[in-house]
């Protein structure tokens, strides 16, 4: 950013982003290169949902999350002399390092040390094959040096989530020990390729994605449309778990509360010692999607199932909803006492490499359509028509419904409906009973035998003065609300001074102006 804006009125936190999303999953967990190619094709056909800079040569960000392709990585690691062992016995970190050689080497060294300190073996680095020549000049200027780092799974650690939990701690420690690198993913199950691309550059930039041996049963993709062109590779999606189309409007409040909650959260899966390493949960420099992802990731790593975490952060309207069961309502009420909704238009896809889930905001403000094909593929996207498909092989054409979820479990080889997932979690504990014996409503409290003191006329008058009440407020505004149950209507705008320039007393409230979307 130039000098002008630094001195001016722009603030980076004003930035918004939005996008197109898609996913291709083989429900039976059958891996193929076709899944990856199809997912890339989806994002390429969502070009109109992606943003470009003023010159039209640099994109706002495109990315893909896939399972780790053992077939591919065992081949390339062999070429690099890295012995990674069997499937899921290693974790891969994707790294955006600085181009500066010295800084890069320092960062790499730092990472290696952290891995060892966490009791694991670092296997080696692989420079990711890329084609920078295709990039727009803004993207090239701030292009990181992209590497993959391989970590061996300790024998005593179980494959999957348990190993990923250890890798999570490593990443959090690294993130707090280094400030010039970014880790798009570090996991034994998933990997993220992303950057400041135009939609078709993702495929051409990363040669890995073009390799026939690069296979996956799950792929989620994202194209970003930002209201700004502040160059950034990190801000592209996918994040570690999610791709997100939409905005979290309550982000400031959510993040404040997450910060405040850190001490009272308790820990399930992470040890006390590990907890101190991963805090703070939320990186407040990130975008709203990244902060949502931070929180989701933390909850999962600390023992909460991924679909459950998504459910409590983005609840459907439950309070007055008579189309859901009492158990589900009680479940939501129970969690509402601890977590406020992350609210705003949102369609979110998440995956840990075994499941792929999708959830839509309570008002259904983002499009998410999906097809299920007779060969076991599920194709989800912001739009239909993104892939050419044979209509004769389509079994179902559906959409995500407002506040509802969809879950593909490739281990169980099936699709779970919203009702099934929610009933499952809602019946795990006797939430209704707990609420009944713990939650108190105002009407349950006994009215004491006491009198509320009334003010004398003189007291009232003095208080009115002290608090700066005006005649209009007394006679018009409070009167109107007490009379009609609604606020007074006016017209013809404002032609009076702003609070700070007014010669009259202005309560502090008037120094604050409401924002709107």
């Amino acid at each position: 950013m130039s000098n002008l804006t630094k001195k001016g009125l722009y603030r980076p936190e004003f930035e918004h982003d939005n996008c197109g999303i898609g996913a291709v999953v083989n429900i039976y967990g059958k891996k193929s290169h076709q899944i990856v190619t199809d997912a890339l094709k989806i994002v390429e056909n969502l070009e109109h949902r992606a943003g470009k800079d003023a010159k039209g040569e640099t994109g706002d960000g495109v990315g893909i999350l896939t399972q780790i392709s053992h077939k591919f990585f065992s081949k390339v690691c062999k070429e690099n002399g890295i012995n990674i062992g069997g499937e899921r016995e290693y974790g891969i970190g994707m790294f955006f390092f600085p181009q500066n050689e010295l800084k890069k080497n320092q960062a790499m060294k730092m990472f290696e040390i952290i891995v060892e300190k966490e009791g694991m073996e670092f296997l080696g680095w692989r420079k990711v094959s890329t084609k920078p020549s295709i990039l727009g000049c803004k993207a090239r200027e701030c292009m990181p040096d992209i590497y993959q780092g391989f970590i061996k799974k300790p024998i005593e650690v179980e494959k999957g989530l348990e190993f990923d939990r250890k890798l999570y701690v490593v990443r959090r420690v690294f993130e707090q020990s280094n400030n010039n690198s970014y880790v798009p993913s570090l996991s034994s199950r998933t990997i993220v390729y992303k950057g400041m691309f135009l939609v078709d550059q993702l495929r051409t930039f990363f040669l890995d994605l073009q390799d026939e041996d690069y296979e996956s049963a799950i792929a989620t993709v994202h194209s970003r449309f930002s209201t700004n062109t502040n160059p950034s590779w990190e801000r592209a999606h996918p994040n570690r778990f999610i791709v997100h189309n939409g905005e979290i409007n309550t982000i400031k409040g959510n993040v404040d509360k997450m910060l405040a909650r850190e001490e009272t959260l308790g820990n399930m899966a992470l040890s006390n010692h590990d907890m101190t390493k991963v805090l703070p949960i939320v990186n407040t420099q990130g975008s709203d999607s990244a902060m949502l992802d931070n929180t989701l990731e933390f909850l999962v790593m600390n023992g909460m199932p991924l679909p459950l975490a998504a459910m409590i952060m983005l609840p459907e309207p439950w309070a007055y909803n008579d189309t859901i069961s009492t158990e589900v309502r009680d479940f939501y009420q129970y969690y509402a006492t601890m977590m406020e909704p992350w609210d705003g238009p949102a369609s979110i896809l998440y995956s840990d490499g075994d499941i792929m889930g999708a959830i839509l905001d309570r008002n259904g403000l983002r499009p998410s359509r999906y097809y299920i094909m007779d060969d076991g593929r599920l194709i989800l996207s912001s739009e239909v028509g993104v892939l050419e498909l044979d209509e004769a092989h389509v079994i179902t054409k559906e959409r995500l419904h407002p506040g509802k979820m969809l879950l593909v479990n490739t281990l169980e080889k099936r699709v779970m409906s919203d009702e099934e997932i929610k009933e499952y979690y809602a019946k795990k504990e006797p939430y209704g009973e707990w609420l009944d014996s713990n939650m108190v409503t105002l009407s349950e409290i006994k009215i004491p035998n006491e009198k509320i003191p009334a003010f004398t006329k003189d007291e009232k008058q003095r208080l009115w003065k002290a608090f700066g009440y005006t005649y209009e407020e007394y006679r018009t505004s409070i009167f109107a609300m007490a009379q009609n149950g609604s606020e007074q209507i006016g017209a013809m705008g404002v032609d009076t001074p702003i609070a700070v320039l007014s010669k009259e007393y202005q309560p502090l409230y008037y120094y604050f102006k409401q924002l709107f979307a």
Binding site: N3, G8, L9, H16, H48, G51, A54, F225, S226, T229, T250, N254, L259, R261, T264, E340, D343, G344, G364, E383, V384, G385, E391, I395, R399, W434, V440, T441, L442, P448, E450, A454, L463, W464, K465, A466, Y469, Y471, Y474, S477, I478, A482, S486, E487, G490, A491, V494, D495, T496, P497, I498, V500, L501, P507, L508, Y509, F512, L515, F516, A517
Partner: protein
């Protein structure tokens, strides 16, 4: 939280965050295991330094926490001679911040008991900065006083309940402006910008809030609180005047707040423009421009160069006038006389007038290009989409998308039933005497890529028009503007919060949005930094009232300028501020035929105003040494802060706005048409495959039957719209049914068939995306599954969300299901579909919708016209219908049955729907399973007018009679 255990949900649940005094008493005295309540006073001894007061407060809060309190009540009860109350907002924000920082905020809930809050905005800030609930004891005592003095003739408890309800309703509205749907998430969300508070105060106590121009310090806050306290409790114990003073925050009062429009300035302006007297105008602007008016620009001064230039070297008045516009005011909110006067004046001057969101009558659309051109050059597209037809769009020179409106940013419009006279209803395609709601958001814009899509749609609907997007100044507007520029808009209007003529809740008029100075400067800066500034024209408006105002706007980055209140004043407006009541004495903001006779305005007055502004602007330009507006744009170095300001004014820091060196070249600072966004319309299938054929072009011009077949995918967006616009251009009223038919295969992209006119039929075999049939203007749309499909079409989604948004006429047949918000704001199209998602037929004002399957929740919410027939085989519909405005009936009437049958026969004919076939074959059996949904008011009006018609009146007269009859009186 991670561990699932019963104690986690040990909370006190409150239904309404506004607590009555009794609620408060209950909480204070509650004795329930697991709960501990602590009351911490926020009153302090007079003259204690405020920092110490706050520190003391934190100590007490910490103590309460240590003692196990989980409900914390901050209370300012006990204000007296030596006890001053902390401003409640400061107390709440500071304590909340403290709790967040010390990680206690989820363990303790904050309740504020205060005498200070009384208006909606007060409560919104308290909740927004961390309070869970508020007890406004003095506001409640005020209600008791109103009741005692018999000003309010109502039971005290009922009045308090209504007051609390009004407050809550207001807060929900404020939250929904940010897209927040629960109070729980609004609480602590800090969705405000501070203006006029010193940075350090904001950082310390209102952390995370944007504050960009500095302002008063903590000491100033303490001082003003103390001064106010002394007005209630005289330090010398003297008797004092305790009567409430009139401040005139909204309506002008003789004492109290300064108003820029006051009887003196209004009179001068009217005289000047009526008599064409420039000297009087100068006299008026001297008053307007005085720094007492308390605008941000009042603190600015021109930084004149040593030598100006000769005024003859400055760009001519005529050329400047092309950059002037009048503000968007709908026909409906203002009278035909006033609306046309503005259009005529601006057309004569070659400036532009704005239609507003109420559509435009055919007669006026026809007058375009004639000697007496009454058609508005700018056609607005707002969330209500009233009267937005293909013809309306084709007639525009500029199409403006209203994302927000200065008077009520973030809110929709509302035209009360009494103003919906028959002639208004006609241009809006609605029913007379039935109130009209513009939904707050555009249902096709929830994010930036959606806006890009709407811009693309409108460009297709009229490729010659420039597309403009109207934003309201707020923190971050520049970033939004950058997104808008990237989305292809050619004009970006940044409106000030203070502008606007529309009716809105007072809290919204005064407390939402920012002055344009800030928004405009931010927009210019952000666009420049992103290399986007020269791709767009930046326009501003908001109480632009003098040549000086316009000159400052140009220097801050504006190239075009809008005026609304001032032209209305020249036409006679005396700022009665009763626009919402239909009682405007000057015949401006009223439809009442009697009052409209009082209209004394003439287009010439508006012309004089514009000429004077331009003339005055040129004088400034000469002194500033600039020849053209283009040379001025963004030259903030030509502005400086005034000297000799008061202490308070001096604290305002304008350095982020003015006086900066502009490091960008002139070319980067101003719009250049060679940088216009390329929509690549020539690559669309409409152009490349259909209109490129001579045979087709000829068919359109001569109205001959033509057919084509094309293959589509999702990247073929807005298919059919360009073709449709070509038909409208040649035949403003459309062509006979099915003149041009396009058979499509595959997936229709977004906005398939948007705005297509009568005579065009799109027959799609496959499925389609969001915004299908947007603004349908008479065309026909058919969608069916391909023959080879094995799935059951009536159980599968083949159409996306928000189909037929703002459709005004036409026919639609869908053999399959559609997503959310089907037929939202439909005002005349007939549509058949075999199942819909949530919010179906929302805000509908006309037309027929037949649903042959399930509906989602909230069906027919806000629906005020038209009829929906729904097949309700499982009697499930009653749960999903929003019953606020709707009557649910059986279809007993023969005419209705006939109508339904006809529609279904067409459905079978066009789509081959198996479901519809089955229904028709067993029609008698199925009829009882259908429900007819009709809005109550709408039904009443229809019945009234048919009654009058039976008495022998013409349809038009019957409508007028029915309108008056429904209002219960004839004025």
């Amino acid at each position: 939280m991670l561990e699932e255990k019963p104690e986690n949900c040990q909370v006190l649940k409150i239904e309404n965050p506004i607590l009555t005094d009794l609620d408060m008493l209950k909480i204070k005295t509650m004795k329930k295991p697991g709960f501990k309540v602590a009351v911490v006073p926020t009153v302090y001894f007079k003259s204690t330094p405020i920092e110490r007061v706050l520190e003391q407060l934190f100590v007490q809060v910490d103590k309460a926490y240590r003692e196990g309190a989980n409900i914390l009540i901050l209370s300012d009860r006990g204000v007296d001679e030596n006890h001053v109350a902390l401003p409640s907002l400061l107390a709440v924000a500071a304590v909340h911040k403290h709790l967040v920082q010390t990680k206690k905020c989820t363990a303790m809930s904050l309740i504020i008991e205060s005498g200070e809050p009384r208006e909606v905005h007060h409560f919104a800030t308290l909740l927004g900065y961390g309070a869970c609930a508020v007890n406004p004891y003095l506001a409640h005592a005020t209600i008791a006083d109103l009741v005692e003095n018999e000003i309010l003739n109502k039971d005290y408890y009922a009045a308090v309940e209504d007051y609390d309800h009004a407050i809550l309703k207001g807060i929900i509205k404020i939250a929904s402006k940010m897209g927040i749907s629960t109070i729980q998430s609004y609480q602590g969300s800090k969705i405000f910008e501070a203006i006029g508070i010193a940075e350090e105060v904001v950082q310390k106590y209102f952390t995370g809030t944007v504050s960009r121009i500095g302002g008063i310090t903590l000491t100033d806050i303490a001082k003003q609180t103390d001064e106010q306290h002394s007005k209630a409790f005289d330090p010398l114990g003297l008797d004092m005047d305790l009567s409430l003073s009139s401040l005139g925050r909204h309506k002008m009062r003789s004492q109290g707040e300064q108003h820029r429009y006051n009887p003196k300035t209004i009179h001068l302006l009217q005289q000047a423009t009526k008599e064409g007297d420039y000297n009087k105008f100068v006299e008026y602007t001297e008053k307007i421009d005085s720094e007492n008016t308390g605008f941000l620009r009042s603190l600015m001064d021109f930084n004149y160069p040593e030598k100006g230039i000769d005024i003859d070297e400055v760009e001519s008045v005529e050329s400047i006038l092309k950059r002037f516009k009048t503000g968007a005011m709908s026909y409906g909110s203002i009278s035909q006389e006033a609306h046309e006067a503005l259009a005529i004046a601006m057309n004569r001057l070659q400036g532009m007038s704005n239609s507003g969101e109420g559509g435009e009558s055919d007669e006026r659309l026809e007058s375009a290009g004639t000697d007496c051109d009454r058609s508005s050059a700018i056609k607005q597209v707002a969330s209500g989409r009233f009267g937005v037809t293909s013809r309306y769009l084709v007639s525009a020179k500029e199409i403006q998308i209203k994302l927000a409106q200065g008077a009520k940013p973030g809110e929709g419009g509302h035209l009360p039933a009494g103003k919906v006279y028959p002639w208004i209803a006609k241009t809006r395609h609605s029913t007379p005497g039935v109130s009209l709601i513009s939904p707050p958001p555009h249902h096709d814009i929830y994010s930036i890529e959606d806006l890009a899509q709407l811009i693309y749609d409108l460009k297709n609907a009229n490729k010659y028009a420039r597309i403009s997007v109207k934003l309201v100044s707020e923190a971050g507007v520049g970033t939004v503007a950058a997104g808008v520029a990237k989305a292809g808009a050619q004009v970006i209007l940044v409106s000030g919060y203070d502008g606007g003529t529309g009716a809105a809740p007072l809290s919204s008029i005064h407390n939402a949005g920012l002055p344009w100075e800030l928004g405009l400067a931010e927009t210019h800066q952000t666009l420049l930094a992103n290399g986007l500034r020269n791709k767009v024209i930046v326009e501003t408006d908001g109480k632009l009232m003098s040549g000086r105002d316009v000159a400052i706007a140009a220097l801050l980055g504006a190239e075009e300028f809008g005026f609304a209140t001032a032209p209305l004043v020249t036409l006679g407006c005396v700022m009665m501020r009763v626009c919402n009541l239909d009682t405007c004495p000057m015949g401006i903001a009223t439809q009442n035929p009697q009052l409209r006779k009082n209209f004394i305005g003439k287009p010439e007055y508006v012309e004089n105003f514009m000429l004077f502004i331009a003339r005055q602007l040129r004088e400034y330009m000469a002194k500033l040494g600039v020849r053209t507006i283009d040379e001025m744009v963004g030259r903030t170095d030509l502005l400086k802060k005034k000297e000799n300001l008061s202490e308070r004014e001096a604290k305002i820091d304008l350095s982020a706005i003015i006086g900066q060196e502009n490091i960008y070249s002139r070319e980067e600072n101003i719009f250049n048409s060679k940088n216009i966004y390329d929509f690549k319309l020539e690559e669309t299938k409409d152009e490349a495959v259909i209109l490129s054929q001579k045979d087709m072009r000829e068919g359109i011009i001569k109205g001959l039957k033509r057919e084509r077949t094309v293959k589509l995918t999702n990247t073929d967006r807005t298919f059919g719209t360009l073709l449709g616009s070509q038909i409208t251009r040649n035949h403003p009223l459309g062509l006979p049914e099915d003149t041009i038919t396009i058979h499509c295969e595959g997936a229709g992209g977004q906005s398939f068939g948007a705005f297509i006119p009568k005579g065009l039929t799109l027959d799609l075999c496959g499925d389609s995306n969001d915004y299908f049939g947007k603004g349908l203007s008479g065309g026909k749309l058919i969608v069916k599954a391909p023959k080879e499909a094995k799935y059951n079409p009536d159980e599968n989604i083949i159409i996306g969300n928000v189909a037929l948004y703002g459709a005004t006429s036409g026919e639609v047949y869908i053999a399959g299901m559609a997503g959310e918000r089907f037929c939202v704001r439909n005002s005349g199209a007939t549509a058949v579909v075999e199942g819909v998602g949530e919010h179906g037929c929302e805000y509908m004002t006309g037309g027929r919708v037949v649903v042959l399957g399930p509906t989602g929740k909230n069906f027919a919410a806000g629906m005020s016209g038209g009829i929906a027939y729904v097949l309700d085989e499982n009697n499930y519909l009653y749960r999903n219908v929003n019953k606020e405005l709707i009557l649910m009936e059986k279809i007993e009437n023969k005419a209705d049955q006939e109508e339904l049958k006809n529609i279904l026969e067409n459905h079978v004919k066009y789509t081959g729907s198996k479901k519809a076939k089955r229904i028709l074959e067993n029609f008698e059996e199925f009829i009882p399973k259908f429900k007819k949904l009709i809005p109550g008011d709408y039904k009443k009006i229809i019945q009234l007018s048919s009654k009058f018609m039976e008495q022998g009146m013409t349809a038009q007269d019957a409508q007028i009679e029915a309108f008056y009859a429904s209002l219960g009186s004839k004025n």
